[in-house]
Amino acid sequence: MGLAGSGLCVYPAEGDREMIKAVGVAKDYRVGLRALNDVCIDITKGEFVFIVGPSGSGKSTFLKLITKEEDPSAGEIHVAGKNLARLPRWRVPFLRRNVGCVFQDFKLLPNKTVFQNVAFGLQVIGKPKGVISQQVPQILELVGLGEKLTRYPDELSGGEQQRVSIARAFVNRPLILLADEPTGNLDPATSVGIMRLLDRINRTSTTVVMATHDHAIVDSMRRRVIELEDGEVVRDQTRGIYGVGT
C-alpha cells in the first residue's frame, strides 16, 4: 500500500534526523479530483523549505497532510519518524502540538481576544497561567501587536490577524512550523520582520516549511525550494529562487 503510485520515488535510508517524509503521496479530494500526485519529499530536522507553485497546485494540501487535517489517498506520510496512517485518532492532538501551523485563512477563534487566541496554543498543552501571561505578550510584541492584546479578531486588519496566527503557531515552540502564505497580507517591511523571526526560530533547530508566492522573500533567503505544479513536484533545489519563469 505504501508503494502505490510511487514508482518514481527514490528512498533515502530513514535517518534519525528525518522530520517529514512523503512517499508516493497522492490526494484525491473526490474521485477524479487529484490535488497531489506521486509526491516524494524528505525534509530533515532544522531545514527551512519553501513550497512554491501556482495557485491550486497543491501547496496547502501538502501542509494539511502533515497535520493530518487530510489523509493521503495513496502513499505514506511520516512525521518525526511516525507513519501518520498508523497514528491512532486520540494521538492526533499531540501531533498537532508539535506542528505549529499558520493557516492561509488565519483560523482565529472569533470569541477570543488576541491574547486569548495565542494563549490557547499554550493552554492546550497545559502550561501554567504564569508562563502564559509572560510568554504571550512577549511573542505578540515580536510580531508587532503588543498594543492590541485585548482586541477580538474582527477588530483587526487583515495583516494583524495574520500576525496573530503566526504568533499562535510558534508560541509553544513546536518541532515543525508550517506556514501557509504567512506574508500574503503583509507589507514588505513587516514581511521582512516576520521572515527574520522565522529564520531565528529555524536557527533553534525548528523545521520550517513555508508555502509562499512572495518571490522577493524566496529569492533573498536562498533556501531549499520545492516547486509544485498540478500536484506534482517539478523542482527541488537546495538553494533555490522563486522561479525561472518570473
Binding site: W90, P93, R96, C101, P110, G126
Partner: protein, 293 residues
C-alpha cells in the same frame, strides 16, 4: 489550573454567545415548565382519584328493631376481616344531622324529617376499593341488617376510569419528558452548529476532544440549570400562590390542589435533574460530529 481554565472559558463563552445562552435557557425553562405542568396534572388526577376511592364505602343500614347485641356481633365480625379498615356506627340522630348538613342549602329537603325517619347504619371503610363487592355480599342478610348499599357496578366503572386516568397522565408525562429532551437537544445542537468552525479550529491547534468538550458541556449545564431553576421557580410559585387560591375559591377542588411538600420537592428536584442532565449530555452528543476533524 485546568479547572480554572474551564470555568473562565465557560463564563467567557456564555458572555460572548449570550443569544445562544438565552435561547437554550428559555427553551429549557419552557420545556421543563410544560413537563412540570403535566406532573402537577398527574398529581391532581392522583389526588382526585384517591379521594374518590377513599369515599367508596359500604353502608349497612340497620333495621329499626335491631338489638344492640346484633349490632355488636356485626361490628366484631367486620372488624376481623382483613379487607376492612374501619367500621363506624352512625346513629339515627347522626344520620339526620349528616343529611341536614349535606343539604344545608335546601332546607325544604329536610324540613319535615325527624329522628327515626332515617335508619341507623354501619359505615364500613375498606383498605382497598377493590374489595367492595366481596365484603358487601359477605355481610348481606346478617341479623339486624336491613339493606347493604354501595355503588355496585358504578364502583367498578369508577375504578376503571381511575386507572385509565392514571395511565393517561403517566403516558402524557413520558411523552412530555421525551418532548422536552428533544426540544432542549435541538436548541443545544443548533447552538453548537453555529460554532462548528470554532470547534474545528481548536482541534487543528492541538486541543483534545475533552479539552474542547468540557467548556461546551459546562455551558450547556449552566444554561440548562438556569432554565430549570426558572421553571421550578414558576411551578413552586404557582403552587404557593395560585393553587391554594383555587382550593379556597372552589372547596371541592381544595384536596385535588393540595400537594405535600415532600412530593413537590421530589418533583421539582427531578425537573432540575432532568434539565441539567439533558443540558450536559445534549451538549456532549451535539458536539460529536463536529469533533471529527
Amino acid at each position: 489550573m485546568r479547572i480554572r481554565y474551564f470555568l473562565a472559558e465557560t463564563v467567557n463563552n456564555l458572555r460572548r454567545n449570550a443569544l445562544m445562552a438565552i435561547a437554550a435557557t428559555s427553551t429549557v425553562a419552557i420545556s421543563l415548565l410544560l413537563l412540570g405542568g403535566v406532573q402537577i396534572l398527574g398529581m391532581i388526577v392522583g389526588n382526585i382519584t384517591d379521594g374518590w376511592e377513599a369515599r367508596i364505602e359500604i353502608s349497612g343500614y340497620l333495621r329499626s328493631n335491631a338489638t344492640s347485641g346484633e349490632v355488636r356481633d356485626l361490628e366484631a365480625d367486620l372488624a376481623q376481616m382483613p379487607e376492612v379498615e374501619e367500621v363506624i356506627y352512625v346513629s339515627e340522630r347522626q344520620a339526620l344531622e349528616e343529611y341536614r348538613s349535606d343539604f344545608e342549602d335546601d332546607p325544604a329537603l329536610y324540613e319535615g324529617l325527624r329522628v327515626g325517619d332515617l335508619p341507623a347504619s354501619l359505615r364500613i371503610a375498606l383498605t382497598d376499593a377493590r374489595y367492595t363487592e366481596e365484603v358487601a355480599t359477605r355481610i348481606e342478610g346478617a341479623p339486624g341488617l336491613d339493606d347493604v348499599e354501595f355503588g355496585g357496578g358504578l364502583v367498578r366503572r369508577l375504578l376503571q376510569v381511575n386507572s385509565l386516568l392514571r395511565s393517561i397522565t403517566f403516558v402524557l408525562s413520558v411523552i412530555l419528558m421525551v418532548a422536552a429532551a428533544a426540544l432542549i437537544a435541538n436548541t443545544i445542537r443548533l447552538g453548537i452548529y453555529a460554532r462548528r468552525d470554532e470547534i474545528g479550529i481548536m482541534k487543528l491547534v492541538g486541543a483534545t476532544n475533552w479539552f474542547i468538550r468540557i467548556p461546551f458541556m459546562l455551558e450547556g449545564l449552566v444554561a440548562a440549570f438556569a432554565g430549570a431553576l426558572i421553571a421550578v421557580g414558576i411551578v413552586a410559585g404557582a403552587n404557593a400562590v395560585l393553587f391554594s387560591r383555587i382550593g379556597d375559591a372552589v372547596p371541592i377542588l381544595s384536596s385535588a390542589f393540595s400537594f405535600s411538600t415532600e412530593e413537590m420537592v421530589t418533583m421539582l428536584g427531578a425537573l432540575i435533574g432532568v434539565g441539567a442532565l439533558v443540558g450536559l449530555v445534549g451538549s456532549a452528543m451535539a458536539m460529536r460530529r463536529f469533533l471529527e476533524v
